[in-house]
């Protein structure tokens, strides 16, 4: 079975056993597409000779060397070659759609990066037609911030894409992905600010040093943050973003009044 999707600038076809591809096509139906320009191919091959998986594939970090990224764990042998627009996962038949979904997300992260963008571990919220990327440690309140922001559109509460905004002289845009929960039909917005969540009893914005901002942003960059081969380029990409988009620490108490603070200070 073969299924294609368009995700921002990403064009990808996924082919393999319907047991793996059908759940993806259903879950990510909004991104299904017949458009095939600049397409990557992700092949999913059953490999009964591999050991039975011992853990979900998402516990395995990709390792990249000489332009080739590998994911290897009991039950899985995967590789991604960004330059060749190719990814292939050999997986034991017991592998789940969740394992396959993770492999596709890794391929998406690399495709986005090679095409000038970034996959970003953040909640993307659109407020007054401006996009905000809210990020932080696990449990810092990204999902809560997204829920509290209703009825503002949520591009995604976990993973979003950033792209240079080709419609503007400078700046970036933030885009929806299927890799988490969404609210509303908005799929992209100009990126107004990146907000690093800090749990607090008060709500206020605090400037972050460039070094602290860079560290926190890199720490929330899936795939690229875990590999020394990609890190220098990824840090340079984030510096490009930071040149156009302000980064703040948002001291955050769990109520919706944080938007009043943001509106007051960011306009």
């Amino acid at each position: 079975m073969k299924w294609s999707m368009a995700l921002g600038e990403i064009r990808m076809s996924v082919q393999g056993h319907p047991r793996w591809v059908t759940p993806l096509a259903r879950a990510w139906d909004d991104w299904g597409s017949d458009f095939v320009r600049r397409k990557w191919t992700v092949e999913l091959a059953e490999a009964s000779n591999l050991a039975v998986p011992e853990a979900p594939l998402f516990e395995t970090l990709p390792r990249c060397q000489a332009g080739r990224c590998t994911l290897e764990a009991p039950g899985f042998e995967g590789y991604i070659v960004p330059e060749a627009h190719t990814a292939r996962l050999h997986a034991h038949p017991a592998a789940t759609p969740g394992d396959v979904s993770y492999f596709v997300r890794v391929a998406c992260a690399l495709q986005a990066f090679t095409q000038g963008g970034l996959l970003f571990h953040a909640a993307g919220i659109v407020h007054q037609d401006q996009g905000y990327g809210i990020f932080g440690l696990s449990g810092s309140g990204k999902t809560t911030a997204a829920k509290l922001s209703a009825p503002d559109p949520v591009l995604n509460d976990d993973l979003v894409l950033l792209w240079p905004d080709t419609d503007a002289a400078h700046g970036w845009r933030i885009e929806a992905t299927p890799f988490g929960k969404r609210r509303g039909d908005v799929i992209r917005a100009p990126l107004r600010s990146l907000l690093w969540l800090v749990k607090d009893m008060e709500i206020f914005l605090e400037p972050l040093s460039r070094a602290q901002s860079l560290g926190e942003l890199i720490a929330n960059t899936p795939v690229l943050s875990s590999d020394a081969a990609w890190l220098p380029q990824a840090m340079a990409r984030w510096e490009d973003v930071m040149a156009d988009v302000p980064v703040y620490a948002l001291h955050f108490r769990r109520d919706v009044s944080f938007w009043e603070v943001l509106d007051g200070q960011l306009g």
Binding site: S209, A211, Q212, G215, I218, A219, S225, S226, A228, M235
Partner: protein
């Protein structure tokens, strides 16, 4: 515990980048990062596998016009913390 005659070097997987006088030090295998101030960044820069910690402390003292007696304990303690976090390793360990 670090010693004065230890010759240290930055662990090969560690990636560093300067930003407005500070340094971001990313440890990809741990999924962590640390931010160093200008003094810390200088120590890291000097830990190139050729200088002992004593040499580094001397260089730092000269750079900042400080007394060596004051700088030495700080450099030793700082190097110890960076070794503990896997940022710095022995140069002997690095060459295998």
């Amino acid at each position: 515990m670090a010693n004065w005659d230890d010759v240290l070097v930055v662990q090969p997987d560690v990636v560093t980048r300067e930003a407005d006088g500070e340094s971001v030090v990313v440890l990809p295998t741990q999924g962590k990062f640390i931010v160093l101030n200008a003094t810390g960044a200088l120590v890291l820069q000097l830990a190139d596998g050729t200088r002992s910690l004593h040499d580094i402390a001397t260089a730092v003292a000269e750079h900042f016009g400080a007394e060596l007696d004051v700088v030495e304990p700080d450099v030793l303690s700082f190097a110890d913390r960076l070794m503990h976090r896997g940022v710095l390793i022995s140069a002997k360990q690095s060459t295998g």
